[in-house]
Amino acid sequence: MNFKNTWQNISTNYSHWLSFGLLLLVASIINPSFLSWSTLSNQFVQGAIVGICAMGMSLVISAGMIDLTVGSAVAFTAGMGISVLNKTGSITLCLLFCLGAGLIIGLINGLLVTKGKIASFIVTLAAMTAWRSIINQLGQGGPFTVSYDFYEPFRAITAGSLFGVPYLMIYLIIITLITHIIMTKTKFGTYIYAVGSNAQAARLSGIPVDRVKALVFMYAGLMYGIAAFLLASRLTSIQAASAGYQYEMEAIAAVAIGGTAMEGGRGKIIGTLLGILMLRIIITVMVMANVPPFLNGLVQGVIIIIAVLAQNRKK
């Protein structure tokens, strides 16, 4: 009886760790060299930029909303960020622009949802289309490319490593930790879960529900800004039409796989990190197993459904 209860407790509260471990096991059976540091750290590097976006998405979904602007916001901010860099020659100004643009994109979403009283799905669907259109117009179909003078120092932001740990992996871990602390150790985190769980009761407890929602969108926007800055550095050339393509889908999938309830109120940040890593591992494993790349989407789709089904069964 006791063993059974303990097991139940583990399987409900740590299910994302269990499935993560299981996936690692499968991966190492298919290819024993998978468990090497270079392959493992590469999963973090590959997942870092979308992973940072997924941190923002975690907050939005925990508060009972959705944000579809991710890919367009990243493309707009990264493209314009490169223009700022080329014009001013300052990486600092480029970073500040990206953070500021992300915050403003989030603020616009937040205001339309709270003051305009429009469903977040609709607001961010419209914003997604609009931002992509703006950056396409500004880029006139062509790419935004970092000029030769700043190429090396700008690229070094994401290309290097510290004691063998790639920079991108460090960024992802730091941002995950900060987001985790916000959600578990500050009252703002509790407010987010409360708003997503029962907005009515939250309001009657004195929680400024609208402000919480707007701040959640701004935090998400800030994450997109950081992601855009890193993407610009990593690629040094941003295609207006395709940069950040489907980032929102991957971010939502990571949050769902990580065990966050789509209706809001419940979720863990560490789960989202594991979710993004799992998506990456699946792709790596499929390359190793010579699965045709066109089938990646199919396998990912099936895995997402299985992960969420497993969570539903527990309820």
Binding site: K187, A201, L204, S205, P208, G265
Partner: protein
């Protein structure tokens, strides 16, 4: 139809919700099922309705064993379960809700005309004033409860289970409901009636069965016991029917804490009163009399059209709820499930929410502090929990409500607004909450309670304000409090 449930047991994991309980019901009988929250009443009824199977035990209908009961089989046997929570779809019309899952069809299409006709027939029979083609979202809570009841009458029923059917109804509507029950009883329909309100049970029921802690305690004829005996049976200890106001010296002081003048909103107007330190004022009135809005207006949760509220001689801005809380007003809202608890948060987090918004100004929150906050309240109110980190939904209604009250005690307000604080909770917990309210005002605070139950009002009120059509129709000091007078004022008869 004769029903016998024989030695039913049910466990949920390690919890034994029912321990070998037997229950019998004859044709044309109204049977009161009594017990505190968590005693096993709902579990027993859910087994009868086929929601889940018993761990052991059997069900006999007309002396024939029924195996593998499920909701469909239960419904086809004529067993109808009217749930305590309203299970209606707000965006559908009344008739669509009534026929939900059992639509009348003609050539494969829904026969809307016939559905409306039959639905209206039942609604008229119940003397409701509800039109069958109204949207459920346009209805008042009381009317929704009537629609829920109408559902059971629409199809031929043998046994109707009613779980707290009168929580939102006023005495006039309750009387109508009882008339309908008596008429159906004469046709041989049986009822299982679950309620915490003793006077109702003694008015309508023929027999009673008492459960306590999942076990069978006693069954018999209602005429053989009285309310006091029944209460003793269900809480399991000698419960002296004391009135907390009797014999105790009043704690009311001359100092005015809160002064409300000519407060007007959309459904209540020109409300004026002075609340003194140490005083409990009760507001009462029928559904729609404006009491709901008055509670939320005082708390800054719904807009004020005109009038003023002074707290400690300072005018209160009512800018938002947080500013009202900081000024020193707390509110325990009504409808715990919809407006009180945050279901995904733990017990201790729920207990901390108000403190966070009104008092917490450090950058981080601390788990030990949160735990200590809850522990204080757990001891004070004897809240029964496993772990403070469990989900709040794992608690019984009474314990949930104590957590919510604890949440507001933590902001140390001067004025406590309690909107129907004992809605749907058992006698023991009710009494504990009454004692707590008296303790709050004895420590120099004041309380405004909204309630429609006379026994509750007589336990609490130093003064009782009765609203009728949004205005104060009469004020009764404790010495003049009587149910008759209250009714006269609230129906506008006086």
């Amino acid at each position: 139809m004769n029903l016998e449930m024989r030695e039913i047991s049910k466990s949920f994991g390690p919890v034994n919700a029912l321990k070998s309980v037997s229950f019998t019901l004859g044709a044309g009988e109204i049977h009161g099922l009594l017990g505190e929250n968590g005693a096993g009443k709902s579990t027993l009824m859910n087994i009868l309705a086929g929601t889940f199977p018993p761990t052991s035990g059997e069900i006999f209908i007309n002396d024939e064993a029924v195996h593998k009961m499920n909701p469909h089989k239960s419904a086809s046997l004529g067993i109808r379960f009217i749930h305590q929570e309203l299970n209606l779809c707000n965006d559908l019309r009344v008739y669509q809700n009534l026929f939900l899952g059992q639509e009348l069809t003609k050539n494969g299409f829904v026969n809307k005309k016939e559905e409306i006709r039959r639905a209206q027939e039942v609604l008229d029979y119940m003397k409701t004033n509800i039109r069958a083609d109204m949207l459920v979202s346009e209805l008042e809570t009381a009317q929704k409860q009537l629609v829920e009841i109408a559902r059971a009458l629409l199809f031929k029923s043998e046994i109707i289970i009613m779980d707290e059917p009168t929580t939102a109804l006023n005495s006039h509507e309750i009387a109508k409901l009882f008339d309908i029950m008596r008429a159906l009883k004469a046709e041989g329909v049986s009822f299982i009636y679950i309620s915490h309100k003793m006077p109702e049970i003694f008015e309508i029921c023929d027999k009673y069965t008492v459960l306590r802690d999942g076990g069978f305690i006693q069954t018999g004829e209602i005429k053989d016991i009285d309310e006091k005996q029944a209460t003793e049976l269900l809480i399991g200890k000698s419960f002296t029917h004391t009135n907390l106001k009797e014999g105790s010296t009043s704690s009311v002081t001359p100092e005015v804490l809160l002064s409300v003048s000519k407060l007007t909103g959309t459904s209540c107007k020109n409300i004026s009163f002075d609340l003194h330190r140490g005083e409990v004022i009760v507001f009462t009135g029928l559904q729609g009399s404006g009491t709901d809005e008055l509670a939320t207006m005082l708390f800054g949760a719904s807009p004020i059209s005109s009038g003023s509220v002074m707290l400690h001689d300072n005018s209160l801005s009512h800018k938002n709820i947080k500013s009202v809380m900081k000024a020193g007003i707390a509110m325990v809202p009504k409808n715990r499930k919809e407006r009180g608890i945050v279901p995904d948060l733990s017990i201790q987090q729920n207990c901390s929410l108000a403190y966070f918004t009104a008092k917490h100004d450090k950058p981080f929150i601390s788990d030990p502090e949160e735990r200590a906050r809850f522990e204080r309240n757990r001891e004070k109110m004897e809240i029964r929990v496993g772990s403070a980190k469990d989900a709040i939904t794992s608690l019984s209604g009474g314990n949930q409500q104590k957590v919510i009250i604890g949440k507001w005690l933590e902001i140390d307000a001067d004025v406590y607004i309690l909107d129907n604080p004992t809605q749907g909770i058992d006698v023991g917990a009710k009494f504990a909450i009454y004692e707590l309210i008296h303790e709050i005002v004895r420590t120099g605070k004041a309380a405004i309670v909204f309630s429609s139950e006379f026994p509750e009002i007589s336990q609490l009120a130093d003064r009782c304000f009765v609203l009728y059509k949004g205005e104060v129709q009469g004020v009764l000091p404790y010495s003049e409090l009587s149910e008759v007078k209250m009714m006269e004022y609230s129906t506008g008869a006086q």
